[in-house]
Amino acid sequence: MTYLPNIIFAVLLLCGIGFFIKNISRLRRNINLGKDVDVTDNKAIRFKNMARIALGQSKMVVRPIAGFLHVIVYVGFIIINIEVLEIIIDGLLGTHRIFASLGGFYDVLIGSFEILAFLVIVAVVVFWIRRNIIRLKRFMKPEMTGWPKTDGNLILYIELVLMFLFLTMNAADYQLQSMGAEHYTQAGSFPISQYLATLFEGMSESSLVLVERTAWWLHIVGILCFLNYLYYSKHLHILLAFPNTYYGNLEAKGKFKNNKAVTQEVKLMMDPSADPYAAPAEGAAVPEKFGASDVTDLSWVQLLNAYTCTECGRCTSECPANQTGKLLSPRKIMMDTRDRLEEVGKNIDKNKGQFVADGKQLLGDYITNEELWACTSCNACVEACPVSIDPLSIIMDMRQYLVMEQSSAPSDLNNMMGNIENNGAPWPFNQMDRLNWKQEL
């Protein structure tokens, strides 16, 4: 019976990690529904970008208040995870504070975890106030109702509860240590929880042990639950920010990719020796669809972008179309892409690995033409994203579909394109008049 807690712990840990692996494999499967793109180049630059942008949070601090608070929570998250390692070992072996033998260094560790935990609590409270009391504009956009709003707050509540459990656990431990309770070795320094411990004064040893154990168990179970919550949440960014910044665009932002399939067509048209009546070769592949109308037409990097988005809305708040009241919100483009991808993924799960047409697609059912046509392609959203997401590339791919597959551009644009086609300028001027300005004085 003495091994019962160890066994329960091992089972919980295995379940937690097992579900997490299952979530990750689902995530990988969904992302791989995207078209292949070659991003194996420039490894050194990519690592540098990842180190600078994700690890170094360089773009977060462009907005100093949110950036500073975020760095606190981020550092807290990483550092406090060292404590989780100890908790896991203790849980499996039935030991208590196994790293205590580190002596003075252990005191420094626990002390700094406590200070970080306190700072995280402060940051999380400020974040909550920004979302719910100050109601910052970018958190109040139409796409931020329902689940996205709940999700944003839930994350804050979970982090708050986890930090309180951590401090409660330490406070009870501290109290037990000073009472000289068996099993509770003198270890650690408790710059924050010692103040909480005053609440426990006068409590019996057995009640304190109960408090300490409850907090300890809830803390680790909470962490395992949170780990599995990620897949369903915008909070996935804590993992995906790293690959996403690694695979982020390395070219000039103004360089939009040239569609290779179109290049083939154009080459054929320009080749005087090509036979215009040639029948396609036997068994030739069906011509590719131009542009994107659904998530499977996008590249896997664009799909990774969608899962990485944490809905901070910096893109939307910088978007000139959104600022002037248009329907377009780059954040919504990313959220819609993820939602549709999830829907496609669930469809595949339900139908034994095969996607069964559901009569829906990203274009129309999620993203409307009006949103797409409001974009000025100014790259403000791309510049604003702290984790190298590129909403603009999705907008452009979908415009390409609208024009090349559906011929459904706004009529003004059809006129413009007709002019380019006929006289080499977006306006109806004769190409032969291109140099007339020289004579006009």
Binding site: A252, K253, G254, K255, F256, N258, V262, T263, E265, V266, K267, M270, F290, G291, E318, P320, A321, Q323, T324, G325, K326, L327, E370, W373, A374, T376, S377, C378, N379, A380, V382, E383, R399, Q400, L402, V403, M404, A409, P410, D412, N415, M416, M417, I420, E421, G424, A425, P426, W427, F429, Q431, M432, D433, R434, L435, N436, W437, K438, E440, L441
Partner: protein, 263 residues
């Protein structure tokens, strides 16, 4: 004093067995738009004054395809690109300068994959170089002490990270350069990019150029400097809408340099 502009075409030079150092890509706006033609002429005046060996394609130039690509018509874009590249490669062009950031971006970034490899510079970069080489001198003159704010064109700034060349030119005019609340990397679009120039805006509560013009006017400028014919149109419209055309001028940097030099 108005001397005639010297604007050789590639065809003329080629017939005479000559090759210019640089091709001036005029662009559709620079060729046809009444406001932008003034920029073209101002730039040519400077080129003439600095005795730059240049030529234009003239009637052999055609739209780069930028608005078609941004509107989603990849096929039309690539047809334009391949046609232009054929012409430019036939003339063995090495260097291109243009006063339009959209042409600049497309020629620089999107043509190489299709076979067009040139050194492409924006006219503000080119002018900065002429200045550094002492080929033009700039005395502030009429711009001395004027408050000038520079509107970053998206396709020059964010798209290609050119922020300093236009600003250095403004400073050289002895003018007081003032920045808008959104500038450089955070510059706000004028509303014309992505083929918006050629269509009505979607429903909203404001036009983008009005928003941007308000930001510019907040700096209390005498001049809003631009480096793009489309931004120029949008900002000029914005200033008119705000009924400020009497006190705020919208000028391209080339125009300011040309008039500072009294060309």
């Amino acid at each position: 004093m108005q001397t005639e502009l010297k604007v050789p075409t590639m065809a003329e030079l080629s017939a005479a067995g000559q090759k210019p150092e640089v091709l001036f890509w005029v662009g559709c706006a620079g060729s046809f738009d009444d406001r932008a033609k003034k920029i073209t002429k101002a730039f040519v005046k400077i080129l003439n004054k600095a005795k730059v060996s240049f030529a234009v394609l003239g009637t052999e130039e055609s739209c780069t395809g930028d608005p078609a690509k941004r509107a989603g018509n990849e096929f039309l874009f690539q047809m334009q690109a391949v046609t232009n590249i054929e012409v430019m490669n036939a003339y063995e062009i090495k260097k291109v300068v243009t006063a339009c950031p959209h042409c600049f971006n497309t020629l620089k970034n999107e043509y190489p994959e299709l076979g067009g490899n040139y050194e492409v510079v924006h006219h503000t970069q080119f002018l900065k170089q002429l200045l550094d080489e002492g080929k033009i001198t700039m005395e502030g003159g009429q711009f001395k002490g004027k408050r000038i704010t520079f509107h970053d064109p998206c396709y020059l700034g964010r798209a290609n990270n050119v922020y300093e060349a236009p600003r250095e030119l403004i400073r050289k005019l002895d003018a007081e350069l003032v920045e808008m609340k959104n500038c450089k990397k955070k510059g706000l679009c004028c509303g014309a990019g992505g083929a918006q120039m050629f269509k009505e805006p979607e429903n909203g509560n404001k036009d983008i150029n009005i928003e941007r013009t308000e930001q510019a006017i907040e700096t209390k400028p005498d001049i809003i400097a631009a480096g793009c014919p489309f931004c120029n149109t949008m900002m000029t419209d914005g200033v008119k809408n705000k009924e400020k055309e009497g006190s705020v001028a919208v000028l391209d940097i080339a125009e300011m340099i040309a008039s500072a030099e009294d060309l």
